[in-house]
C-alpha cells in the first residue's frame, strides 16, 4: 500500500463514517482489509484500494467501511473512562445516592459485551464500599448477533488479552476449552436488550451513568443532536454521560457540559454548572476543556 493509497483510504473513511485513521494504523488496515481483497479475488491491498478509488463499486465500498469501523471491543477499552468511573463517578454517586443505595448504568453500544462486563468488574472490585447497594447494568446494541455473544460471555484468547490484566482474567473468568467465559456472577449483573438509538428508548427507565462511546460518530449532525437531547432525558441532573475519547457535545447541544479535566466525561448542564467549584472552567468553551 503506497502512501498516497493510505491517504486516500484515510479520507474515504473519514468522509463515509467519521472514522479517523492515524498513520500508525497501517497494520490495522492490512489485517482488516486483506480478507476482503482475498474474497474479491484481488492479489494485493493496493489493488483493492485502487478499485475503491476508481469508484462505482458500491458493495465493495460498504464492505471496506464496515470492516474498518466494526467496533472491535476490548475489555477496559481506552482505560480512561474506567478511571473516571472508579475515581470520579462512583465516589460521587456513592455519596449522593447513599440513602437509596441504587445505581443504574446503561451501555448504549454494548457490542460484544466487553464494556458492560468491564463495569461489572469495577463494581465487584468496589464491593467492599457497596454493601447493601443494588446495581443494574443494561447493555443495548442494535445487532441481535453481537448481543447473543455478549450474553454468552465467551471470549477468545485474543479478546481476553487486550486490556484485561492477567489477574482479572484469573479472578473473573473460567477457561472453557480454547475460550474464556466470564463468571456466572458477573454475567448475572448485566441485562441485554436490542435497541436502535434512532428509536424511542424511554422505556428503559432512568440511569445514573450512561456509556455511549464511539457510536454517535456514525450519525450526521442533526441526528447526533437529537439523540444527545433524548439521552439527556434519561439522566438525573447529577448523572454522567461518557462519550468516546474523540467525541464531544460542544457545538452540538446545551443539554450536556464537559466535566473539567475529564476527557470524554459529561454532565447535564445544570448539574455541571453547580459542581466543579474546584476549578475555573469556561461555561461555554468552544474547544475541549482540561487538556
Amino acid at each position: 500500500m503506497s502512501p498516497s493509497e493510505f491517504e486516500f483510504l484515510k479520507k474515504f473513511l473519514k468522509d463515509r463514517s467519521g472514522l479517523v485513521l492515524s498513520n500508525d494504523k497501517q497494520y490495522l488496515v492490512e489485517s482488516r482489509l486483506l480478507p476482503i481483497a482475498r474474497t474479491s479475488k484481488l492479489e494485493t491491498l493496493s489493488a483493492l484500494i485502487q478499485l475503491v478509488q476508481r469508484g462505482g463499486q458500491r458493495q465493495l465500498e460498504i464492505d471496506v467501511v464496515e470492516a474498518m469501523t466494526t467496533n472491535e471491543s476490548f475489555f477496559f477499552r481506552d482505560k480512561t473512562p474506567f478511571d473516571h468511573f472508579n475515581e470520579t463517578m462512583l465516589p460521587a454517586l456513592l455519596q449522593s445516592r447513599s440513602s437509596q443505595r441504587n445505581l443504574k448504568i446503561w451501555c448504549a453500544a454494548a457490542s460484544t459485551g466487553q464494556e458492560p462486563y468491564s463495569l461489572a468488574i469495577c463494581l465487584k472490585e468496589a464491593a467492599a464500599k457497596m454493601g447493601g447497594w443494588r446495581t443494574r447494568i443494561v447493555g443495548t446494541d442494535l445487532s441481535q448477533e453481537v448481543l447473543e455473544k455478549a450474553k454468552a460471555g465467551l471470549y477468545s484468547q485474543f479478546e481476553v488479552q487486550r486490556g484485561l490484566p492477567i489477574q482479572m482474567l484469573l479472578k473473573y473468568f473460567e477457561q472453557k476449552g480454547d475460550m474464556w467465559q466470564i463468571s456466572p456472577s458477573l454475567r448475572a449483573m448485566v441485562e441485554w436488550r436490542k435497541l436502535n438509538l434512532l428509536e424511542n428508548f424511554n422505556h428503559l427507565g432512568e440511569f445514573d451513568i450512561l456509556f455511549c462511546r464511539n457510536v454517535l460518530i456514525y450519525f450526521d449532525q442533526p441526528t447526533k443532536v437529537e439523540i444527545l437531547n433524548r439521552l439527556a432525558k434519561m439522566l438525573p441532573e447529577d448523572g454522567y454521560l461518557v462519550l468516546g475519547a474523540a467525541e464531544t457535545v460542544v457545538g452540538l447541544t446545551d443539554a450536556f457540559q464537559p466535566v473539567a479535566g475529564k476527557r470524554g466525561l459529561f454532565q447535564r448542564k445544570s448539574a455541571a454548572s453547580s459542581l466543579g467549584k474546584t476549578s475555573a472552567r469556561p461555561l461555554f468553551a468552544s474547544s475541549g476543556t482540561g487538556r
Binding site: 482505560k79 486490556g163 477457561q175
Partner: protein
C-alpha cells in the same frame, strides 16, 4: 531508552518480538534459554523481560525464580509469553513473580496492551 530482554528458543519468535518492541522504542537484547538470560541479567539488568516458558537448558519458570533471587532481580518487569495457556500455569507464573502473561499466539496489539498494563509504555 528502556531495554527489553527477549528470551525464547525460537529465532522466529525473537525476531517478531524484536520488531514489535523496537517500534515501541525498546532497545532489544536476546537470549535463547534461561541460562543465557540469567547471564545477561548478571551483566546488565534489563527494564523488561519477555519470557518463554518451555526452553532447553533452563526453562522460563526456573529462570524467573532464580532472577527474583538475584541482586536487583526484583526490578525487571517480567511478561511471560508462552503457549502454556491454562489457569494452573498462569497462576504458577504469577506466584513466581511474573508481572503479566501473554498466551501465544500473540500480535502487536496484545504486546502493546500488556506492556501498557504494567506501566512499561
Amino acid at each position: 531508552m528502556k531495554q527489553c530482554l527477549v528470551v525464547d528458543d525460537s529465532s522466529v519468535i525473537r525476531k517478531v518480538a524484536r520488531r514489535i518492541l523496537e517500534d515501541m522504542n525498546f532497545e532489544i537484547a536476546e537470549a535463547e534459554d534461561g541460562q543465557q538470560a540469567l547471564e545477561h541479567c548478571r551483566k546488565t539488568m534489563p527494564d523488561a523481560i519477555l519470557l518463554d516458558w518451555n526452553m532447553p537448558v533452563m526453562d522460563g519458570l526456573e529462570f524467573l525464580t532464580s532472577l527474583r533471587n538475584e541482586d536487583g532481580g526484583d526490578r525487571p518487569i517480567v511478561v511471560f509469553c508462552t503457549t502454556e495457556n491454562d489457569v494452573a500455569h498462569i497462576a504458577r507464573a504469577i506466584r513466581a513473580g511474573a508481572n503479566e502473561y501473554i498466551m501465544k499466539p500473540f500480535d502487536r496489539e496484545i504486546v502493546e496492551a500488556k506492556f501498557q498494563e504494567v506501566g512499561l509504555i
